[in-house]
Assembly symmetry: C2
Homo-oligomer: 423 residues x 2
Amino acid sequence: MKNAQKLVAPLLEAAQSAGATRGFVAPARWAARASEEIVAVDNTHKQAQSVISVPSRLLMGPGPANAHPRVLNAQALPLLGHMHPPFLHIMDEMSEGLRYALQTKSKYTLMISGTGHAGMEAAIANLVEPGDKVLVGNAGIWGERVGILSRRYNADVVEIKCPTGETFSYADLKKAVETHKPKVLFLCQGESSTGTHQSLAGVGELCRANGTLLLVDTVCSLGGVPLFADAWGVDCIYSGSQKCLSGPPGAAPFFMSERAMEKLAKRKTPPATYNLDLNLIGDYWGWWNKRSYHHTGPVSTFYAMREALQIVAEEGLEPMWARHQEMHHRLWDGLRSLGLKPFVEKEEHRLITVNTIKVPEGVDWAKVVKHAMDEYSLEIAGGLGPTAGKVWRIGIMGFNAKPQNVDLVIDAFRAGLKQQGKL
Amino acid sequence: MKNAQKLVAPLLEAAQSAGATRGFVAPARWAARASEEIVAVDNTHKQAQSVISVPSRLLMGPGPANAHPRVLNAQALPLLGHMHPPFLHIMDEMSEGLRYALQTKSKYTLMISGTGHAGMEAAIANLVEPGDKVLVGNAGIWGERVGILSRRYNADVVEIKCPTGETFSYADLKKAVETHKPKVLFLCQGESSTGTHQSLAGVGELCRANGTLLLVDTVCSLGGVPLFADAWGVDCIYSGSQKCLSGPPGAAPFFMSERAMEKLAKRKTPPATYNLDLNLIGDYWGWWNKRSYHHTGPVSTFYAMREALQIVAEEGLEPMWARHQEMHHRLWDGLRSLGLKPFVEKEEHRLITVNTIKVPEGVDWAKVVKHAMDEYSLEIAGGLGPTAGKVWRIGIMGFNAKPQNVDLVIDAFRAGLKQQGKL
């Protein structure tokens, strides 16, 4: 190796002459080919001692929201082995906590070791075989992304679209499902790019009647709005940890119905991804009453999510939904008093967890965002995808969904608009 | 939906009669089809208040090792947004910390948002196009797994094997590379299932001469033994956070050389995985001097890894390697005094970070493991894959590689063998 020959090993020589105690001592086998193996350590990229800088911010955008302090602190607990019984017990507690949060009796709940995107990919990779028809309800960037992702797994993707800021009616969905008879229908319950809430009323039944599996993205809605996985006939759900569940990003709540599991069992080919193969991950989570090593679960993140789900159970779903709804109304009472209007015209399409606010004519939206961050250390977000430049987005999610935070958001809008002479 | 009709909504009725303040109030649009959408919350899986149970354990198996307390505590810091400049700065600090730890000047370092397995899959998914020949050095379960994983990505896999407890000689590798002219050669530097250390001497040059990219697994070796990514001509590396780097599992150190990046740029098809597509992830990490949203990085885990890499820089690579080596010798001085012998016969094949110890004739290995856990709250591991039932495995890794821990392991072996009347 040319580079190595030039560098030759002062490290090795120094260590050999110094004797055994300090300094790295290359074993004899390396000395024989030292010019190839041991070169001098390059300190160019060695960083000086410095303290991690994490300013305190109130995250009222589309997520992450601030995690519950009890959840964050659980991550400071000492690590356990990923196959130790006390850790497996914590995994069981999460499976059970998910059953409650998702309102299912299904045995098949778990946390994907990754963020919401990993959950999305796990769903598609496992439910879809090459050539399967997937009907994607594209109401914003999440539907769009599921379309892109599904094509990579060689799905036959059919997309339906609705106007930005609206959702699919039952009639839209009925027509599309009956026309295409897809293997999988994808819908996003809370489309955070537009601030819309897709109703699932009757959709599960429709899917069952047409041999279709119903896959639902609940990343920014789970815990904030009602969801009844079993009663609504949903077959697969993925979600996010860092939204209404008040956890850190890095684990994706996941659920499969019995019907979805039948499809998985009948696959002719394994999923292209090994890392997200539910046959293997499910075995780690005890879906088949044993435990096999597949990967090392993110221990600290799982501690956090165990706490997050425990907190959901402690508060209870109904009070949690009510709290999110109340804060959504409180937000809009305030915003309306400033003359601001919802981007989503019709109340029946409006999502309460991620709120989209029309940027009024002549207002510099980015300046309001910057002002909130500079003056209040408060995150207000702009639009994304189809709403970029048209809206602000305010999250009412989890631990952050409380009066003092909502009021601060309203104050920040008031001050931001005043600064531009718009109030 | 039949289920839903039976359940009808006491929740909805209660809320409606109670008025607006507490209790979830279904919007008017739901009332119209309440029997479909709002059903009673089922509390079967609602867990009673309970405290998370995390016993304190010394993890001296093949990993995870105990994380550094400073690293664990960084996870309790408040969340930042995944696109906030202070968070992007923390990502930059990690990229730089990886350059030092991996000894590279490459711009292309980052943390994969997942465990070591996600790193393995990212490497294969991005380096390999369908039909590409991949030469896999299978010296234990990691090589085997890379073979399985590569086949899922439609690689043309050629496996070479070596006897369990040995490694590939340069001559073996030269012959195989020159015969097969693979697009990618995979080697595992530290094969934790057998306790062997694969020398990379001359392999980078060999690969360059044959148009082959060199992919190296350093999951259990990075930080414990020398590695010089640039000088040794390595093209792609993935590693683990929870071994010698003393972090929690959930982030995989990752590196690409310029040559590997050229291959990525020339792909005719995108990788099958969207979630691990380096063209997208690299953009989030600033590889092309901008920052695009791809997924939400695991914020807390990244805080942890920023600290872990800072601690590596503070200690310095040479002292770190020396410490691991010293503790390895200390371990074997103790084990030999108990009559125990290394599973890996030849010193030149032996890994210092994961040590495999032959189970002597007539000793119940599992009883020794159980005794250590019961009496010392100490993890000693058994074998895995080709070494199952034949060895114990002891990790000398990161924060755990210190005299008091090594001495406790020796004490535990002494007591465990005495318990069986073998000492």
